[in-house]
Amino acid sequence: AQRVTQPEKLLSVFKGAPVELKCNYSYSGSPELFWYVQYSRQRLQLLLRHISRESIKGFTADLNKGETSFHLKKPFAQEEDSAMYYCALRRNNNDMRFGAGTRLTVKP
Protein backbone atom coordinates (compact mmCIF):
# COMPACT_ATOMS: atom_id res chain seq x y z
CA ALA A 1 0.00 0.00 0.00
CA GLN A 2 1.14 3.54 -0.74
CA ARG A 3 0.70 5.70 2.28
CA VAL A 4 2.02 8.95 3.67
CA THR A 5 1.69 9.54 7.39
CA GLN A 6 2.09 12.84 9.16
CA PRO A 7 1.48 12.06 12.81
CA GLU A 8 1.11 15.64 14.02
CA LYS A 9 -1.91 17.67 12.92
CA LEU A 10 -0.74 20.68 14.88
CA LEU A 11 2.74 21.85 15.84
CA SER A 12 3.54 25.01 17.72
CA VAL A 13 7.01 26.42 18.40
CA PHE A 14 8.47 29.73 19.43
CA LYS A 15 10.37 31.94 17.02
CA GLY A 16 14.02 30.94 16.87
CA ALA A 17 13.38 27.40 18.07
CA PRO A 18 14.16 24.36 15.94
CA VAL A 19 11.25 22.70 14.20
CA GLU A 20 10.78 19.21 12.80
CA LEU A 21 7.69 18.10 10.92
CA LYS A 22 7.48 14.34 10.71
CA CYS A 23 6.62 12.31 7.65
CA ASN A 24 6.69 8.55 7.19
CA TYR A 25 5.81 6.68 4.03
CA SER A 26 5.13 3.22 2.73
CA TYR A 27 5.84 2.47 -0.91
CA SER A 28 6.95 -0.68 -2.67
CA GLY A 29 9.09 1.03 -5.29
CA SER A 30 11.75 3.70 -5.20
CA PRO A 31 10.04 6.70 -3.60
CA GLU A 32 10.02 10.29 -4.76
CA LEU A 33 9.05 12.52 -1.89
CA PHE A 34 8.08 16.15 -1.69
CA TRP A 35 7.07 18.75 0.83
CA TYR A 36 4.32 21.17 -0.16
CA VAL A 37 3.34 24.27 1.79
CA GLN A 38 0.18 26.36 1.90
CA TYR A 39 0.46 29.81 3.45
CA SER A 40 -2.66 31.62 4.55
CA ARG A 41 -4.81 32.62 1.56
CA GLN A 42 -2.30 31.26 -0.95
CA ARG A 43 -2.35 28.24 -3.17
CA LEU A 44 -0.53 25.04 -2.41
CA GLN A 45 3.07 25.18 -3.65
CA LEU A 46 6.16 23.04 -3.69
CA LEU A 47 8.63 23.66 -0.88
CA LEU A 48 11.25 21.06 -1.67
CA ARG A 49 11.82 17.61 -3.14
CA HIS A 50 14.18 14.95 -1.90
CA ILE A 51 15.90 14.52 -5.27
CA SER A 52 17.20 18.09 -5.21
CA ARG A 53 18.77 17.76 -1.79
CA GLU A 54 18.47 21.52 -1.43
CA SER A 55 17.62 23.92 1.36
CA ILE A 56 14.63 26.18 0.72
CA LYS A 57 13.80 29.01 3.13
CA GLY A 58 16.13 27.30 5.60
CA PHE A 59 14.21 24.03 5.44
CA THR A 60 15.85 20.70 4.66
CA ALA A 61 14.53 17.17 4.43
CA ASP A 62 16.51 13.97 4.18
CA LEU A 63 15.11 10.76 2.82
CA ASN A 64 15.83 7.90 5.23
CA LYS A 65 14.95 4.68 3.46
CA GLY A 66 15.77 2.56 6.49
CA GLU A 67 13.23 4.38 8.62
CA THR A 68 10.98 5.21 5.62
CA SER A 69 10.95 8.82 6.74
CA PHE A 70 11.24 12.23 5.13
CA HIS A 71 11.12 14.66 8.03
CA LEU A 72 11.22 18.41 7.37
CA LYS A 73 13.57 20.42 9.55
CA LYS A 74 14.55 23.99 10.18
CA PRO A 75 17.04 25.02 12.87
CA PHE A 76 15.51 28.42 13.65
CA ALA A 77 11.81 28.88 12.95
CA GLN A 78 10.45 32.25 11.83
CA GLU A 79 6.94 33.62 12.20
CA GLU A 80 6.51 33.63 8.44
CA ASP A 81 6.96 29.85 8.46
CA SER A 82 3.49 29.49 9.96
CA ALA A 83 1.55 27.50 7.37
CA MET A 84 0.09 24.14 6.51
CA TYR A 85 2.71 21.60 5.43
CA TYR A 86 1.98 18.48 3.41
CA CYS A 87 4.32 15.60 2.77
CA ALA A 88 3.66 13.92 -0.58
CA LEU A 89 4.69 10.77 -2.40
CA ARG A 90 4.84 10.72 -6.18
CA ARG A 91 3.37 7.59 -7.67
CA ASN A 92 4.21 5.86 -10.94
CA ASN A 93 1.49 7.64 -12.87
CA ASN A 94 2.86 10.99 -11.74
CA ASP A 95 0.09 11.92 -9.36
CA MET A 96 0.79 12.66 -5.70
CA ARG A 97 -0.47 10.98 -2.57
CA PHE A 98 -0.58 13.51 0.24
CA GLY A 99 -0.29 13.14 3.96
CA ALA A 100 -2.90 14.60 6.28
CA GLY A 101 -0.87 17.75 6.76
CA THR A 102 0.65 19.51 9.75
CA ARG A 103 -0.32 23.03 10.71
CA LEU A 104 2.77 24.81 11.98
CA THR A 105 2.37 27.86 14.16
CA VAL A 106 5.45 29.89 15.06
CA LYS A 107 4.79 32.11 18.04
CA PRO A 108 6.64 35.40 18.61
Binding site: Y86, D95, F98
Partner: protein
Protein backbone atom coordinates in the same frame (compact mmCIF):
# COMPACT_ATOMS: atom_id res chain seq x y z
CA UNK B 1 6.28 26.53 -14.12
CA UNK B 2 2.58 26.75 -14.89
CA UNK B 3 -0.14 29.23 -14.03
CA UNK B 4 -3.53 27.69 -13.40
CA UNK B 5 -6.84 29.52 -13.27
CA UNK B 6 -9.93 27.96 -11.79
CA UNK B 7 -13.51 29.11 -12.04
CA UNK B 8 -15.57 29.59 -9.99
CA UNK B 9 -13.43 30.39 -6.97
CA UNK B 10 -16.41 29.67 -4.76
CA UNK B 11 -20.08 28.87 -5.06
CA UNK B 12 -23.08 28.00 -2.94
CA UNK B 13 -25.35 25.42 -4.51
CA UNK B 14 -28.60 23.71 -3.76
CA UNK B 15 -28.86 20.02 -3.10
CA UNK B 16 -29.55 17.99 -6.25
CA UNK B 17 -28.02 20.46 -8.69
CA UNK B 18 -24.75 20.14 -10.62
CA UNK B 19 -21.79 22.48 -10.90
CA UNK B 20 -19.01 22.54 -13.47
CA UNK B 21 -15.56 23.77 -12.46
CA UNK B 22 -13.22 25.02 -15.15
CA UNK B 23 -9.44 24.80 -15.14
CA UNK B 24 -7.29 26.76 -17.58
CA UNK B 25 -3.51 26.38 -17.84
CA UNK B 26 -1.17 28.89 -19.45
CA UNK B 27 0.83 26.19 -21.24
CA UNK B 28 0.19 22.84 -22.86
CA UNK B 29 0.37 19.97 -20.40
CA UNK B 30 -0.25 16.30 -20.80
CA UNK B 31 -1.34 15.45 -17.30
CA UNK B 32 -3.99 17.21 -15.30
CA UNK B 33 -5.29 16.06 -11.95
CA UNK B 34 -8.40 16.87 -9.95
CA UNK B 35 -8.19 16.73 -6.17
CA UNK B 36 -10.72 17.22 -3.42
CA UNK B 37 -9.94 18.71 -0.04
CA UNK B 38 -12.77 18.25 2.41
CA UNK B 39 -12.93 20.50 5.48
CA UNK B 40 -10.02 19.77 7.79
CA UNK B 41 -8.78 16.96 5.57
CA UNK B 42 -5.89 16.39 3.23
CA UNK B 43 -6.00 16.31 -0.55
CA UNK B 44 -7.57 13.26 -2.16
CA UNK B 45 -7.10 12.51 -5.85
CA UNK B 46 -10.39 12.24 -7.73
CA UNK B 47 -9.09 11.48 -11.21
CA UNK B 48 -6.34 11.95 -13.73
CA UNK B 49 -7.37 13.68 -16.95
CA UNK B 50 -5.14 13.19 -19.96
CA UNK B 51 -6.00 14.77 -23.26
CA UNK B 52 -7.30 12.35 -25.85
CA UNK B 53 -8.33 9.62 -23.43
CA UNK B 54 -10.95 8.95 -20.81
CA UNK B 55 -10.23 10.16 -17.32
CA UNK B 56 -8.92 7.61 -14.85
CA UNK B 57 -10.80 7.64 -11.57
CA UNK B 58 -9.51 6.70 -8.15
CA UNK B 59 -11.25 4.23 -5.93
CA UNK B 60 -14.39 5.75 -4.48
CA UNK B 61 -14.96 8.18 -7.35
CA UNK B 62 -17.10 7.43 -10.41
CA UNK B 63 -17.64 9.11 -13.74
CA UNK B 64 -21.39 9.51 -13.24
CA UNK B 65 -20.80 11.63 -10.15
CA UNK B 66 -17.69 13.49 -11.34
CA UNK B 67 -17.66 13.66 -15.14
CA UNK B 68 -14.50 15.22 -16.51
CA UNK B 69 -13.74 16.75 -19.89
CA UNK B 70 -10.30 17.36 -21.37
CA UNK B 71 -10.85 18.83 -24.81
CA UNK B 72 -7.31 20.11 -25.32
CA UNK B 73 -3.91 20.41 -23.66
CA UNK B 74 -4.69 23.61 -21.74
CA UNK B 75 -8.22 23.09 -20.41
CA UNK B 76 -10.30 20.71 -18.33
CA UNK B 77 -13.60 20.70 -16.51
CA UNK B 78 -14.87 18.76 -13.52
CA UNK B 79 -18.59 18.49 -12.89
CA UNK B 80 -19.96 17.63 -9.47
CA UNK B 81 -23.33 16.06 -10.22
CA UNK B 82 -26.46 15.73 -8.12
CA UNK B 83 -24.79 17.47 -5.23
CA UNK B 84 -25.38 16.75 -1.57
CA UNK B 85 -23.97 18.51 1.51
CA UNK B 86 -21.25 15.84 1.67
CA UNK B 87 -19.84 17.27 -1.57
CA UNK B 88 -19.03 20.54 0.18
CA UNK B 89 -15.32 20.80 -0.32
CA UNK B 90 -12.49 22.58 -2.07
CA UNK B 91 -11.84 21.17 -5.53
CA UNK B 92 -8.34 21.65 -6.87
CA UNK B 93 -7.01 21.39 -10.38
CA UNK B 94 -3.31 20.59 -10.76
CA UNK B 95 -0.85 19.87 -13.52
CA UNK B 96 2.30 17.81 -13.46
CA UNK B 97 5.44 18.93 -15.20
CA UNK B 98 8.78 17.27 -15.82
CA UNK B 99 10.56 16.65 -12.55
CA UNK B 100 7.40 15.58 -10.81
CA UNK B 101 6.35 18.91 -9.34
CA UNK B 102 2.64 19.63 -9.26
CA UNK B 103 1.26 23.11 -9.76
CA UNK B 104 -2.11 23.91 -8.26
CA UNK B 105 -4.94 26.23 -8.98
CA UNK B 106 -6.34 28.33 -6.19
CA UNK B 107 -9.19 25.92 -5.75
CA UNK B 108 -12.96 26.12 -6.03
CA UNK B 109 -14.73 26.21 -2.68
CA UNK B 110 -18.12 24.56 -2.99
CA UNK B 111 -20.85 24.73 -0.35
CA UNK B 112 -23.94 22.61 -0.83
CA UNK B 113 -27.03 23.52 1.18
Amino acid sequence: SAVISQKPSRDICQRGTSLTIQCQVDSQVTMMFWYRQQPGQSLTLIATANQGSEATYESGFVIDKFPISRPNLTFSTLTVSNMSPEDSSIYLCSVGLAGGELFFGEGSRLTVL
